[in-house]
């Protein structure tokens, strides 16, 4: 967790690991057994982790007659898009669009608020700095307890008239993700040499210009890590999304899927189609930025 530039560090550190001689020896003696055991463990792990996912995605392309076939078939069926058609006909694209809007807004707001806060906590001395940072650290796990916070939050927001608006969920999601983003960014800013700030100040830069022209360009890896975790967190959020907005036009994707369980009942075709659509952006983000997700988590973000 101390490692401040893991993205570059892991990339450059990889080729330096040279296997020990004894292992190479053992490999020559037991060429297949060792490799087979690792491959088997690998396969079991992959099946356990990915089977429900793959099975769900396959189901989403099955027509009614293949769906209820017993025993179920893995690949031997006629693929169809009728489940997707039905899900889209029930307005699911609208929910996806809202979720995309909520998540994008949350990512931008979180990064915009976290960078100056992290900069201040690392580079400035101000009254109550210690206790305030303690509050940030404590808020990281606190926002996991959404179920306990939700009811007071709901009552308070109702009182203020902040529920059921386009900004309701971005406001809540940003507050939930912000402490983690501040923590990740502070870790990165710590690694930027203070001499750079001082050189800029000597050249006549204000502290805002230091933030804009020195800190911001050098914190890009932290933006990636905090940004992708924020996106995933907001896209996947269910509890606040189902309570804080009632109007169907504002409903995000996770509560929409939950409502489908009541609406489609035991029709697993449309249900798995909606689940597939919901994980699509996540899997794309994962394929492109998987390394950032792992490094963001490693750097001491602590969502469970």
């Amino acid at each position: 967790m101390e490692d401040l530039t893991p993205m570059t560090a892991t990339k450059t550190a990889r080729p330096t690991t040279v296997p020990f001689v004894p292992i190479a020896d053992r490999r020559r003696m037991l060429p297949s057994v060792w490799g087979l055991m690792i491959a088997a463990a690998f396969a079991v792990l992959a099946i356990l982790n990915l089977l429900p996912l793959v099975w769900g995605i396959l189901t989403s392309f099955k027509g009614a007659q293949d769906l209820f076939r017993f025993p179920p078939t893995l690949f031997d069926f006629t693929p169809t898009l009728e489940n997707y058609q039905r899900v889209i006909d029930s307005g699911f694209l609208g929910n996806m669009k809202m979720s995309l809007f909520y998540s994008a807004t949350t990512v931008m707001a979180t990064l915009a608020l976290a960078l100056p806060a992290a900069y201040a906590f690392d580079r400035f001395n101000f009254p109550l700095r210690g206790p305030l940072f303690l509050l940030v650290v404590a808020s990281i796990p606190l926002s996991l307890g959404a179920a306990a916070l939700l009811i007071p939050n709901y009552l308070y927001f109702t009182r203020l008239g902040l529920t059921n608006a386009w900004f309701t969920l971005p406001l809540i999601y940003t507050a939930h993700q912000l402490p983690m983003a501040i923590w990740i960014m502070k870790g990165t800013i710590e690694g930027i040499p203070r001499e750079l700030d001082e050189a800029a100040v000597a050249d006549g830069a204000s502290h805002f210009e230091v933030l804009r022209y020195v800190i911001l360009p050098l914190s890009k890896p932290a933006f990636g890590a905090a940004g992708v975790l924020t996106f995933v967190g907001s896209w996947n959020e269910f509890v606040a999304g189902s309570v804080m907005v009632d109007s169907p036009a504002l409903r995000p994707i996770q509560p929409a899927i939950y409502n489908f369980i009541g609406f489609f009942g035991r029709e697993w075709g449309p249900l798995t189609a909606s689940a597939t659509l919901a994980i699509l952006p996540i899997l794309i983000a994962f394929a492109l930025l998987g390394r950032l997700i792992v490094s963001g988590l490693t750097k001491g973000s602590v969502k469970g």
Binding site: A117, L144, P179, G304
Partner: protein, 285 residues
Amino acid sequence: MYSRHAGLTYIVPAFALLGLVLFSPVFYGFWFSLFRIQYGAPTDFIGLGNFLRLLDDPALGGTLTRSTVFTFFAVALTVAIALALAVWIHKLGERRGFAVQMIVIVPWIISTVVATLLFRWVFVNDIGLALSLARWAGFGDIRLLNDPTSAMALLIGVSVWKRIGYAVIILLAGLKSIPEDLEEAARIDGATGWQVFRRITLPLLKTPLLLVTIVLTLSNLNTVETPLVLTGGGPGNATRILPMEIFDRAFVAYDLGSATALALVMFIGNILLVLAYVRLAKWKT
């Protein structure tokens, strides 16, 4: 380097938002819980009435017990399996280890609603994949969602499956930060693999292990979606745990008074975990 108040201006926007969304509702909630609540608005002051009403509720004891059982087993299993996986991945080397990490993190990055829904589809009665596999393997008709004990076991299973990747990654980071020469020195002194793990690795992994345990306890204790989507609390009340109870009271039964009281009781539990977390996390200003 700069004036004493320059830093404050940079944190004001962030704290204004945290104050509005995270901090002030809690105080408002405590105040609110002292009133009778009708249609989402406080009416008469009834002191601790909402809390006392909880004590009279005969069903609540069972819910608490089930929550404890669920959280304990979900956390213990996740930590144990994740520790074994992390040690294994650590030995695999950088490239293969990274591939395994990528596989185990997939269940963590998809939403709990979707993950649970997919699990329900695997285990659903009559046409589920698990039933066919059980028949094919000769176990006969096993319907795990119909029996109270196995439904709870399945709930725990989904939770473990969902969160194991997170625990693996944090523990792996902990393992990587242990200097290799410590384990090497012990090995040269003749320690067996198990002794090295027990006497060197495990003690040095104490902080990440405790952090993971706290975070997992918090997230399992507070999960609404898993029971809601997997079982709806059933069969009977076998998988009805505390957060789902709060959710139901507030937004299905519209009993916001007792829901608020219950949420605040749970919130106090959360705060204790958060304090333990803050003590352990390596934070410095």
